[in-house]
């Protein structure tokens, strides 16, 4: 298996170099990390092409944009350096409050240690603290409430030693429920604060 790879890699690279000599643009759709359907559209003066399968691509030679079926090996050969430089994807943590109080639940307090570690371990980490509400109340009121919850969690993080300049707050109100519900439904799981570390 290992030998196969060693032998086939240079062949693929050679083939693509040869091909690359007259290609002046290339776009390849990669598989979505969560395996969901994905697509991009490539437009130019002549029209548009939809790429909706993993490794579907287009190649331009002069004014002509032609479909090209790429592969994981070809993408690695041509885009390996760019892909290797990709930053670590943002990671989200969710914390909850005890009832209406401004104190976190015991579980969420335990989560704080993991959040702090994530912030400390990432190079040049930044934190977006995002408040969410359930659907009880109007949108404006929930926007304000969610922002207030985010500000509370920001204070908790700062008190726990996270540098304040790393933290930004946002209030998404009732726009992004964790559990779908109708309007005016009290849902504790939706009254939460998300800590997105990037």
């Amino acid at each position: 298996m290992r030998n196969d790879r060693v032998v086939s890699r240079p062949l693929v690279a050679l083939a693509t170099l040869f091909l690359a000599a007259c290609v002046n643009e290339r776009v390849v759709l990669l598989p979505a990390p969560d395996g969901r359907p994905t697509a991009i559209v490539v437009r130019d003066a002549r029209g548009e092409q939809v790429l909706d399968q993993p490794f579907a691509g287009v190649e331009r030679r002069g004014s002509e944009l032609k479909p090209h079926k790429s592969s994981a090996a070809e993408v690695e050969a041509m885009f390996g350096a760019a892909l290797a430089a990709k930053p670590v994807r943002a990671r989200s943590f969710v914390v909850y409050f005890d009832g209406g109080a401004e104190a976190l639940t015991a579980e969420s307090v335990a989560e704080l240690a993991r959040i702090k570690r994530e912030i400390a371990e990432r190079p040049a980490s930044e934190v977006m603290v995002i408040g969410h509400t359930d659907s009880v109340g109007g949108q404006d009121a929930n926007d304000k409430l969610s922002l207030k919850r985010a500000a509370t969690v920001r204070e908790i993080l700062v008190a726990a030693g996270v540098p304040p300049q790393k933290i930004e707050t946002a209030g998404r109100g009732e726009r992004e429920p964790l559990v779908q519900s109708g309007d005016e439904v009290a849902e504790p799981k939706n009254r939460r604060v998300e800590i997105s570390v990037r």
Binding site: V23, N24, V28, L29, I40, V42, V50, A82, D143
Partner: protein, 152 residues
């Protein structure tokens, strides 16, 4: 990753780094950096390093051995391989609605993209431009290679 930071630190130590006078809209931050990577901002050239902010209209340029990874404020990931030139020409993000707009201009080289919150909320307001094509987003991950044109 550690290695990257070390290289960036060495590159920075050798340069006379000063804060730029031009203050544009913040688009993102440099998260990975290897080899020679420069940011051109308002006529000045800055040596890029991990932790540096990337502003709208900054031109990011990687050397023959360089690569760079940037996370935009909406969690979009952009990373470029060697001999690449690109700029975040447009970036606006509303963290309440997740609305906004992104336009990335790719002059030459290779670029890998993982789209973020804006593309999820409003895919039609996110695009990537090469000298000859416009790539619109309906999904999440893709790569682009563009050859240099005269106007670089």
């Amino acid at each position: 990753m550690r290695h990257c930071q070390l290289l960036a630190a060495v590159a920075l130590a050798g340069s006379c780094f000063s804060a730029p006078a031009f203050a544009g809209e913040t688009a993102g931050m440099v998260k990975t950096c290897k080899g020679i990577v420069g940011i051109e901002r308002a006529g000045q050239r800055i040596v890029a390093a991990v932790g540096m902010l990337v502003m709208v209209a900054d031109r990011v340029r990687t050397g023959a051995d360089g690569s760079v990874g940037i996370t935009l404020r909406d969690n979009t990931l952009l990373s470029a391989g060697p001999n690449s030139v690109f700029a975040v020409d447009k970036f606006a993000f509303d963290s309440t609605t997740n609305g906004g707009a992104i336009s990335v201009g790719m002059k030459k080289g290779t670029l890998a993209v993982s789209t973020g919150k804006i593309a999820k909320e409003k895919p039609e307001s996110v695009d990537f431009r090469t000298p000859t094509s416009v790539i619109g987003v309906r999904g999440t991950e893709f790569v682009i290679e563009a050859e240099a044109t005269d106007e670089e």
